[in-house]
């Protein structure tokens, strides 16, 4: 299926495979791993697809643009795009339009969000997810408390969105005091190292940690334990993603709140791709529903069916 003008392969559903170019992020952490494996497992040859998977090198946007261009030049049938960075895609998307290749955004969106440039975006909502964490925090600390934020690398759009969601919900609450924010680069090891120092510089007077991914939350938990405190009691830790290790930790009470950022939307994606190839209209933004887990019980219940 090398992208001729009027493409009849997908409608006929015959022996020719539909070529899907997946401009992906690549190994980044548990969540990403689950998400991309899910997409790869969905678009199989049995399902009638040839998936071309192009992960970014070093999370570098440039390598994604190169891959995107290459897919356009090659003339794939559909492009799935998980952009590492939101900005800077206009040119590439316009070229895809000129080549009449539909583009579906997976997970991350683009900035500015010009819906005419792509068909649809399928993703959980970062803003909503971190708002959910913030709402839990507000209800959990009615008398207020000191909190600390463990961020991803400075400047990444996910980090900015999750910060926005949190800040918008917490800023107006008087009791919650932000004692600081540091990056731990999504990493458990760095989070542990950062947070042990943060605890010391604040004389252990921190009640809440907002970790922007599970890995960093787990690192913070270790730091809390080593400081002789009890996570979940002295320091409550909330994380985003909902990977298995995080839920296990939640079940043990080491984490206090986990907001899922649901990676498993391959099925939805497949449906949408088929709709698009059949020329049907689709919504410009399809939000993937995500759960939250606020207690060990909830985690224990969810664990057996957890796939990632």
């Amino acid at each position: 299926a090398c992208g001729g003008g009027d493409d009849d392969t997908s409608t006929s559903g015959g022996d020719e495979l539909v070529t899907v170019g997946f401009v992906a992020v690549g190994p980044e952490g548990g969540w990403r791993q689950a998400n991309e494996a899910n997409v790869q497992d969905t678009f199989t040859e049995e399902a009638g697809f040839e998936l071309k998977y192009a992960p970014a090198t070093n999370l570098d946007q440039r390598s994604q643009i190169d891959a995107f261009t290459s897919f356009v030049d090659e003339g794939v049938d559909v492009i799935l795009l998980s952009a590492t960075e939101g900005a800077g895609w206009e040119d590439s998307l316009r070229r895809a339009q000129e080549a009449e290749i539909p583009v579906i955004l997976v997970d991350r969106g683009i900035e500015p969000d010009d819906t005419s440039l792509y068909v649809t975006r399928i993703a959980p909502d970062n803003y909503e997810v971190s708002t959910a964490v913030a709402e839990w925090a507000v209800s959990e600390f009615p008398d207020g408390g000191n909190y600390f934020v463990l961020e991803g690398p400075a400047g990444v759009s996910v980090v900015n969105e999750r910060n926005r969601g949190w800040d918008d919900a917490v800023a107006s609450v008087p009791g919650l005091v932000k004692v600081g924010a540091q990056t731990a680069n999504w990493s458990t090891e760095e989070a542990k190292s950062v947070f042990e120092t943060v605890l010391k510089s604040n004389n252990n007077d921190i009640q809440l940690v907002f970790a922007q991914n599970d890995e960093m939350g787990l690192g913070a938990a270790i730091a809390v334990e080593e400081a002789g405190l009890t996570p979940g009691v002295d320091v409550k830790i909330a994380t985003i993603d909902g990977t298995k290790p995080a839920l296990e930790a939640l079940a043990e009470g080491r984490l206090s709140f986990v907001a899922e950022y649901n990676p498993l939307f391959g099925e939805t994606l497949l449906e949408v791709v088929e709709q698009v190839l059949n020329g049907e209209e689709v919504e410009p933004y399809i939000v993937v529903p995500s759960e939250t887990f606020d207690s060990p019980e909830a985690a224990t219940a969810a664990l057996p069916s957890r796939k990632y």
């Binding site: 991309e36 390598s63 030049d73």
Partner: protein, 352 residues
Amino acid sequence: MTVTTRPPTGSAPGTAPSLAERLGARLSARLSALPTVAALLIFVGMIIYGEAAYGRIVQFNTLSNLLVNNSHLIILAVGLTFVILTGGIDLSVGAVIAFSSVAGVMLSNAGWHPVAAVLVMVLIGSVLGLISGVLIQYFGVQPFIATLATMFLARGLASMLSTVPERLADDSAIRELATQLKIIDGDKVNDLVITPGVIAAIVIVVLGFLVLHRTRFGRTVYAIGGSEQSATLMGLPVPATKLGIYVISGTLAGIAAVVYTSRLGSAQNITGIGWELDAIAAVVIGGTLLTGGTGFVLGSVVGALVLGLMNVLITRDGGIRPEMTTIITGGILLVFVILQRVLAARRRATQG
């Protein structure tokens, strides 16, 4: 004086040099160009292989995009060629791009005239290059460390300016620099296009070549790479030249920032992480020795294109597991340098 000097001719002892031997001597004089030629051959081989295996490589859009997508890398590689030829290294170029582009976009959005903003972007590169150069030349800091410091500095300054993507206004004239000029308008996107960025890259390559081979400055660059001490004792302007190459490298990084930013229409503090390694790899693939003294700008261009083509081929294949990509990149780099070594050794042996 019956016996005059008989310089060793490299010929078999005791025989007058035959035509074949003279040819051998000629070739041996060009020995340093061999790795570059090898790179070029491998590049052509890759194109042929790609076309055979995946198709749609030898067509207007793929080839012109190879240039468009890698024009900034080519510009960086030219700058690094100068630095590496002297036996130095510049790790700061990626971070310089980040700082320069974030600053440029912010200035432009703040209402600066686009020409002024572009000039500042280039100048930021020059100044950061100058800082590296001064640290290296006047304070004896080792290039690796000095440019590492500049790298941290530039990255830090970029992050302090902004940690969110800074978007160029839609009507900014800087975007014009990425206008695609269609030379041949083919079917759909299959056009032969060229951008001002590509033109800039080509001009810089030509200038780089001329400077290295046709100016005393360029010859001094090579001499320093051969032996800095000798160059000094030969009365060459070593300090000025060393300063000069870091300024050149910085300036070219600034220009690369303009080219890349205009294409993307936005700038960010995390742009360019690891690009210095890409540029160094391009230079090395192109046959320049990291110890300095031998290499060519044109080789670096081939190196940059080889890297770009490699990415295209990996994407085209599409079936490579993500964890394998870096292994493959490393593997190809390794094959390259080993092949060049073997070729050079073979040539040296047959020449003997």
